[in-house]
């Protein structure tokens, strides 16, 4: 069952920006800088136990946009949803005496556990790679810094590629290069995919506005993902009160075993 979590935002339509801007002659920088507004109807998503992934819709608007640039498609919007950060370890198996075993590993510093991206077009055609690396936008441009000193830089590239590939395969990293659509000249809608295995915690929605390949402004807003239901209660119990949890597991085993011997007793 795929449930659509539609988080709509009621945006005040760009009432203010346009009249002023229309008077700025073509080619000249307008005195007013472009702005970007985004919003979702909620700052919290509750994930129930039958969660199979969902779509998150974010609405946004450009303010003070230059109409001519808009008309020739010089504005690009990238919206990302970054999950909580943690260390991540990538391991590589090699055949040793005929058996496949992990021989090498690399730990990356504080990378988002999940990352979903929507953009107006391929992000690599929006901006140059070095500047994308700089701002860390895009799966291929996220900062992946290994912990400790790795003398072989070729190995770092290899493990980075493996990390991105694995994350894309298990759905925790996603990208949709046509996920941002302009619904009117300056109002856009971004659809982000939340994978079924989305980690809970504080996520961050970030929106970036590019003009002719230059990042001109960005916005961010937190989004809390909380898992609810009995399963989450169990996970919490296992981590917060492990002794009591372990005791309960043993107790269930004793009751089950004992109960069966009473129920099925022949005499």
């Amino acid at each position: 069952m795929r449930r659509l979590l539609r988080i709509a935002l009621l945006l005040p339509l760009l009432a203010l920006g346009f009249p002023v801007q229309a008077q700025v002659p073509f080619g000249q920088a307008s005195g007013v800088k472009e702005g970007l507004e985004i919003g979702t109807s909620t700052s919290e998503i509750a994930i129930t136990s039958d969660f199979r992934g969902a779509d998150l819709t974010i609405f946004g608007a450009l303010t003070n946009a230059d109409e001519l640039f808009l008309a020739i498609g010089q504005y690009d919007v990238v919206v990302t949803l970054e999950g909580p950060k943690d260390y991540a370890t990538v391991r590589k198996k090699e055949r040793v005496f005929g058996i496949w075993m992990n021989t090498e590993g690399m730990t990356f510093e504080q990378v988002p556990e999940s990352y979903s991206l929507a953009s107006t077009r391929m992000i690599d055609s929006i901006d140059e790679a070095p500047s994308l690396n700089n701002i860390g936008v895009g799966i291929d441009h996220l900062a992946l810094n290994p912990v400790g000193y790795i003398p072989d830089s070729g190995m770092i590239g290899e493990f980075r590629d493996a990390y991105r590939r694995l994350k894309l395969t298990n759905g925790l990293y996603q990208r949709d290069t046509s996920g941002v659509r302009f619904v009117s000249s300056s109002l856009f809608r971004a659809s982000l995919k939340l994978p079924a295995n989305i980690p809970d915690g504080m996520h961050m929605v970030r929106a970036y506005l590019f003009k002719s390949g230059q990042l001109i402004t960005q916005r961010e807003m937190p989004l809390r993902v909380v898992k609810t239901g009995i399963e989450q209660a169990i996970t919490d119990a296992a981590h917060d009160r492990p002794i009591a949890y372990g005791f309960l597991c043993v107790l269930i085993a004793i009751i089950t075993g004992w109960g069966a011997s009473i129920v099925f007793r022949k005499d």
């Binding site: 391991r91 296992a238 949890y245 075993g257």
Partner: protein, 308 residues
Amino acid sequence: MTVYLPIAELSVNIFIILGMGAAVGFLSGMFGVGGGFLITPLLIFYNIPPVVAVATGANQVVASSISGAITHFRRGTLDMKLGSVLLVGGLAGATAGVWVFSWLRRIGQLDLFISLLYVVLLSSIGALMLQESVRAMRRAKNNNPLPVKRPGQHNWVHRLPLKMRFKKSKIYLSAIPVVGLGFGIGVLTSIMGVGGGFIMVPAMIYLLRIPTNVVVGTSLFQIIFVTAYTTMVQAATNYSVDIVLATILMVAGVIGAQYGVRVGQKLRGEQLRALLALLVLAVGIRLAVGLIVTPSDVYSVAVGGMSY
């Protein structure tokens, strides 16, 4: 119908887990084994993370061993003193095992180690059992009686110091091999998620020369406490006991076991042992294949650092 396993963090088909539990319960009732050495590899084949499979397997053994232990306790075929000495070693072994388990997990070699240990143990024990049962079947066919071992025959084990008297078993035996055996089984319990009866029972009979009538009850006594202890320690250190998975397996297992016992009583001992041996070998081979076959992806990713 799918059910979400909160600790394994994946959704599974509840009927597959129920079937697995019932089948292993059936076999464990039929052969009189705890079933941990079957349930843990089966869970791993079903993509349950080995960390969770092992800890949950230990929990499941508590349930499957308890009714047997109660029966032996009622009949009085249980040597409490011997069991307690075994238990001292078992608890120490389980503690050491969990420590090794956490360390292997940290360096990324846990899955390999669990598989290797299973392959070595299952294939050697399966081969030994098969050999023994085939010999017994041939003997039965030729109508040759079993060569009776002379009572009082001693081996090196009986020359060790620190001797203790075990009244119920009617033996006078050094505590060292008993504690040592318990320790070894305890380590296996926490690393492999097994009760270890399939090793402990032959070791007690052939190595320690403990009378067979108390062996099974005493080993079950030790297994219950060691597996219960391991469940607690695994829950406290690795957070890897899945209560939902364990409950489904246990309920299906104890019911399956009741039917297994009935079928087991109709089959002959050596045939039963040959069947079990083949099963053990098959699981071992399947795990060995998994180690040798080229994995679909040589890379894997895990949340968390190798060392902090």
